[in-house]
């Protein structure tokens, strides 16, 4: 405006008034637009979903989807089930719908629920093994595509109907989906399950040679109550469930992936006695080489641990004994890795991402081997090196026995 040639004052004032009016009406317009979103949803009109289970119907096609919806009013109670004035009403509501696709099943929920389902806070998607055997991506596509659902939702596998998991007692939590979330986050204290979220699953699924894994959750009856239990890992190859790893094999998998964050190893001592060592820090280095047609894998694990419990009366605190313990733990770790390798080779499923390592670090070799990767993976030569350092004894040196018994 600065450089405009000056008009005479009279016309200028008219212009000013006109502009002011225009500006005023503009402001009014923005008021209308800013006052409310077009598609607004208030909290009291939402059904906040915390857990979703996907299952196949007993007969016919499509999917059966169960939801765990939180009753916000029941959550607020300070203690146990009598809190909040809600009396005996459970804090969650389980809903089950069906439809030809997961998306339609989700929408069909509106036929039963008075409020529209809100998925942005969903914690976990639980898939039954039947769905997993048929193909996971078709069931998962909706969760990736939908703008409300997020890719950090946990993905789990359950052998039975997922609705049982959603309906199980939640232990100390009020809502079992939140309990599932905590169970998974606590994997670092055992390192016997491998957490996978939808984003991780998609990422691995995009890799040509890799196979996916999913944690398995099941329901266990304890003192008359149905409680949750994390139990091993399912192996998914080409989007279909092909087998499972037990806790030991899962630990082996985690060692190779470098995802062990904690947990314990129990070693056998002479005379049937045992000692349990706690893993404090663990670091893994994997190197994959392809020489001609032969794949060679070198796995190097470095662990720092501490003595956590022993069942013998021997004094294990001497330097010699500690070294022996370290060697024994190294053996246990190697066994775990070997067990996982054996299972993976049996399924011909590259759950460790050896092929992906080649893709990233030796692209020409990957190009050469990718066509028959299954065969190359099964024939891979694996060299394992474990280095354990037992650093601590805890608060006591030796068990509380008179010295004579301890020393032999």
């Amino acid at each position: 405006m600065k450089g405009e040639p000056r008009r005479n004052g009279h016309a200028n004032r008219h212009l000013k008034i006109g502009q002011g009016l225009l500006f005023f009406f503009l402001l009014l317009l923005f008021l209308v637009l800013a006052g409310g979103c077009w598609d607004r949803r208030e909290l009291e009109n939402l059904a906040v979903v915390l857990g979703i289970g996907v299952h196949l119907p007993a007969q016919g096609e499509g999917y059966e989807v169960s939801f765990q919806i939180v009753r916000a009013a029941q959550i607020q109670g300070p203690t146990g089930e009598t809190g909040g004035g809600g009396g005996t009403i459970k804090p969650v509501w389980i809903l089950r719908t069906s439809g030809p696709t997961v998306f339609e099943a989700v929408r069909n929920a509106t036929l039963q629920s008075s409020r529209r389902l809100f998925l942005a806070h969903n914690q976990a998607v639980i898939i039954s093994t039947e769905v997993a055997q048929k193909g996971i991506m078709p069931a998962l596509d909706f969760f990736l595509r939908d703008h409300e659902s997020r890719s950090i939702q946990w993905l789990l596998l359950t052998p039975a109907d997922p609705v049982e998991v959603l309906d199980a007692a939640a232990g100390l939590e009020r809502v079992s989906a939140l309990a599932i979330n905590d169970l998974i986050e606590d994997y670092r204290s055992t390192s016997k399950i491998r957490p996978v979220n939808i984003g991780n699953y998609m990422e691995t699924a995009m890799q040509k040679t890799s196979a996916n894994t999913l944690p398995i959750i099941r329901v266990k009856e304890t003192a008359g109550k149905r409680e949750l239990l994390m139990d091993g890992t399912g192996v998914v190859k080409d989007d279909r469930l092909v087998g499972a790893l037990n806790a030991k094999e899962t630990r082996g998998l985690l060692w190779v992936l470098g995802e062990v964050k904690g947990g314990v190893n129990t070693v056998d001592l002479p005379d049937g006695a045992k000692a349990t060592l706690e893993i404090f820090t663990a670091a893994t280095k994997v190197k994959v080489e392809a020489i001609e047609e032969k794949v060679r894998v070198g796995i190097e694990v470095k662990v720092q641990s501490s003595l956590g419990a022993q069942t013998t009366t021997d004094d294990l605190s001497t330097p010699g004994q500690i070294k022996k313990l370290a060697a024994l733990q190294g053996q246990v770790i190697e066994d775990e890795i070997r067990a996982a390798l054996r299972k993976a080779k049996e399924y011909k499923a590259d759950i460790f991402g050896f092929g992906e390592y080649l893709f990233k670090h030796d692209f020409p070799a990957w190009q050469r081997l990718v066509k028959e990767w299954e065969r190359h993976f099964a024939g891979a030569e694996v060299e394992i090196k474990v280095e354990v350092q037992v650093e601590n004894l805890g608060l006591v040196t030796r068990p509380a026995f008179p010295k004579e018994t301890g020393e032999k």
């Binding site: 450089g3 317009l29 637009l33 979103c37 077009w38 692209f363």
Partner: protein, 363 residues
């Protein structure tokens, strides 16, 4: 005509915002994925070369807009025809950019909102800003680009816990031909679209500094885009290849202790401001160009109708997102190269043959 003047520094920042513009939302060459952040630099080099050619026109006719140059070189009638082609180009560029951002908003946040409810407020601000002239646009842009650069720097910290450098490997798994082709696509979009600045350069107070400023702006934009793509690859990994809006998705994944999550709206708003600068410059070039075409004294009365026109184009230019993606992959490179390489070269050639500019021609 407009008398406002901007400095070379302001021009550089305008170029930067304009280049970041819509590429940051809907990138080209996504098939290269983990190599893209490197290919951007190759594309930047080619883009700099391209724009250097285009600026040769301006250096030959300093102080003239592209449309004035057309008339000087081809005479009034043919020159206006050339200018009309460029008007169409600016219109589809502005409309397309506006369209992208409406699509982004519609797919990610405001799923049920009608297009017009998103477009109308936007166009109102565009028109208002454009009527204020280039000085105001340039100054408001200074603030907006600072926000974007700041955001990119902050996001480096935010993604530290989810950034996996392994995702960046292997660095080169494409054949040279593929890489070259993708880099040309990047040289065209976003860098080649800077041909639009030939309409704005005469507004710079010292024309000798123009070439350096434009190059600086493009290099700055290249760095920002490469950083964003670098972070996106490290965070999203291979899965990013199937995402419609990879940059948006990577901000969705930010998760610091399950507390600092769902930050995607902040970059979304920020990218919107870059798109805003791009569209407002398109609108400005359209208005100034049209005014020149019809020998008007001022471009201001044209802004409102052209803004409305832009709104209509934005709503209709791409019937769906898949058309848009295909346009970016298959058509855009040729289209931009036609306008940013071929036509300026022809003009330059004709000017050379006619020994223009002659002495005494410049008023």
């Amino acid at each position: 005509m407009e008398q406002g003047k901007i400095s070379a520094g302001e021009l550089a920042l305008l170029v930067m915002s304009f280049t970041i513009g819509s590429w940051v939302v809907l990138p080209t060459g996504i098939q290269a994925w983990q190599n893209l952040w490197l290919i951007i630099f190759l594309g930047l080099g080619e883009g700099l070369l391209l724009i250097y050619f285009d600026l040769a026109l301006f250096r030959r006719f300093p102080g003239k807009t592209l449309f004035e140059i057309h008339e000087l070189v081809y005479g009034p009638f043919v020159g206006k025809l050339f200018s009309l082609c460029f008007l169409w180009f600016f219109l589809q560029m502005g409309g397309g950019t506006l369209g992208i951002f409406v699509t982004l908003l519609k797919t990610t946040v405001f799923t049920a909102t009608p297009d017009l409810a998103l477009l109308i407020p936007w166009v109102l601000i565009l028109v208002y800003g454009c009527r204020q002239g280039i000085e105001v646009i340039a100054r408001s842009n200074q603030l907006l680009i600072m926000g974007t650069v700041g955001l990119v720097l902050i996001s480096i910290l935010l993604v530290l816990n989810i950034f996996n450098p392994e995702n960046l490997l292997p660095f080169f798994n494409l054949s040279f031909a593929e890489m070259l082709w993708i880099s040309i696509g990047i040289a065209a979009f976003p860098f080649g679209q800077n041909i639009l600045f030939l309409m704005i350069l005469p507004r710079v107070n010292r024309w000798q500094k123009v070439t350096g400023a434009v190059c600086k702006g493009m290099i700055g934009a290249g760095l920002v885009l490469s950083t964003i793509q670098f972070l996106a690859v490290g965070v999203v990994g291979k899965a990013g290849q199937i995402l419609v809006f990879p940059t948006f998705e990577f901000y969705r994944l930010i998760n610091i202790g399950r507390v600092l999550t769902r930050l995607e709206l902040i970059p979304l708003l920020n990218f919107l401001t870059m798109g805003f600068v791009k569209v407002i410059l398109c609108l400005y070039a359209l208005a100034v160009g049209t005014a020149h075409l019809f020998n008007l004294r001022t471009y201001r009365p044209l802004v409102i109708p052209l803004g409305l026109f832009l709104l209509l184009v934005a709503g209709r230019i791409y019937p769906d997102i898949s058309e848009h993606i295909r346009y970016i992959q298959k058509v855009q490179t040729f289209l931009v190269l036609f306008f940013a390489l071929l036509l300026p070269l022809v003009t330059l050639g004709v000017a050379f043959l006619r020994r223009l500019p002659r002495k005494g021609m410049t008023p």
